[in-house]
Amino acid sequence: MTLSWRRTFRGIVLCGLFLAVEPGRAEYRRIQLKVYGLDCELCARGVSASIHRMAGVRSVEVSLRTGVLRIELIPGNTFKMSDLRNRIRENGFRPMEATVTAVGRFNGSKFEVLGTGESYDVAVPEAKGVDEPELTFEIRQ
């Protein structure tokens, strides 16, 4: 009886660990997003502070020269590009094209960033055989 309880407990713990780790394998890792309209230090500071408060963000860098935001994300995040674009608009600026590094799966011709509901047309044929590849690709506006 005691042995059976131990096995059950061990099984629950292993299932929990598996469920906790598995969704983290498909996610955004790094994002470089071009933004229109950022002209001053205060604007950059405000946008940086705003994005830093989004769940899953490790660091934000803003370049006023290039108008590019560089975002590093925490492993296991549930960050969505659509949320990022909305946040930029709420700050009064315009999100443009992005270069994204993400882990996901191919579903036909689409590369899905699992757990986000977001998928993209990515032309990397050699990655299609890989189970969950980490790819860097560009997203148009």
Binding site: Y36, L38, D39, L42, G46, R65, R87, G92
Partner: protein, 311 residues
């Protein structure tokens, strides 16, 4: 008590620095705070021998809608010039609530945007202004409407705007303050040296020109025959000879006029703090009467932005 409250606000402004001061000092601009941002600002202003302190609080309701409250007050009394001091702040001791709506916002490139903003405000007087030509006029609430449009980029800025302040007749008073029209044109420039990436000090220089026209004030009721006392010059003869309007109120001859002022200003932002200041000199002036003309007007302010409320 009122003084204590004002001093507290001023001290807070000095310690915590400010808000939406990412525009010119005197003229109209289009910038608004981000959604959830707020700012406090304290400015010191001089015009025509009168010094004023102007505290202001602003809050960004959305990225295109901003609410501000300002309450400039006199530090010393004198022959007080009338008309607005800046596009964003009254030129007389008043508490003003101002709503700014950025109704046009085109983001056209990296660091570049074209935008237009509409301002609407209401203000009530907080201090009585002494007059050299008789007892103080009773003061009524005022309405204010203004609009500004501009182009913003990393290298240069251009803004133009105009606003009109009208004193209403909400009470029993028969006196009427001078309505005022303020227009402005601003060009700004960020030197190449400050094309640094965040977080570095960001400095911009502006050349601001304002044009204003202030109407004649009217004195009604028994006050029109009150004895004239004080001041450096007796103007009772001028009052007796002055015309009367349709309501038989005295049109005060030494009130209002028109003028154009122009001069350099600057804005420096670093982290959450902004410093701003400048001076303008009269290019052309045509006063209605013999009241003293303004030799110059100057402005210096510090602001602190609270960005933690931003989404």
């Amino acid at each position: 008590m009122k003084r204590v409250v004002f001093l507290c606000v001023c001290c807070l402004g000095a310690i915590r620095g400010w808000a939406d001061a990412h525009g010119p000092a005197f003229g109209y601009s289009t910038t608004t705070l981000g959604s959830g941002d707020s700012s406090i600002e304290t400015v010191a202003m001089w015009r025509g021998g009168v010094a004023m302190i102007g505290p202001r609080f602003s809050y960004g309701v959305t990225e295109n809608l901003q609410f501000s409250i300002s309450a400039p007050f006199d530090v010393n009394h004198g022959e007080h010039p009338v008309g607005r001091f800046t596009g964003m702040m009254p030129g007389e001791p008043q508490a003003e609530a101002l709503v700014a709506w950025r109704f046009h916002h085109a983001l056209t490139g990296i660091g570049t945007r074209n935008e237009s903003t509409l301002y609407m405000g209401v203000s009530g007087t907080t201090q009585t202004l002494p007059r050299l030509d008789g007892p103080p006029l009773s003061r009524e609430p005022a309405y204010y409407v203004a609009a500004a449009t501009g182009h913003i980029s990393r290298s240069y800025y251009i803004w133009a705007g105009a606003g009109y302040q009208h004193y209403g007749h909400w009470g029993d008073s028969e006196d009427h303050q001078s309505d005022s029209l303020l227009t402005s044109a601003v060009v700004g420039w960020r030197p190449q040296f400050f094309y640094k990436d965040y977080p570095r000090p960001d400095v911009r220089f502006f050349w601001e020109t304002t044009g204003e026209r202030t109407g004649l004030a009217h004195r009604g009721g028994s006050a029109s025959t009150a004895p004239v006392t004080g001041g450096g010059h007796d103007q009772s003869a001028a009052i007796e000879a002055s015309p009367r309007d349709a309501n038989d109120y005295v049109v005060l001859p030494n009130s209002g006029g028109a003028g154009i002022f122009s001069g350099p200003t600057f804005l420096c932002t670093y982290r959450n703090i902004a410093f701003q200041g400048g001076v303008m000199f009269p290019v052309w002036s045509q006063l209605n009467g013999t009241q003293p003309a303004e030799g110059f007007r100057s402005f210096i302010g510090v602001s602190y932005f609270f960005l933690k409320g931003r989404k």
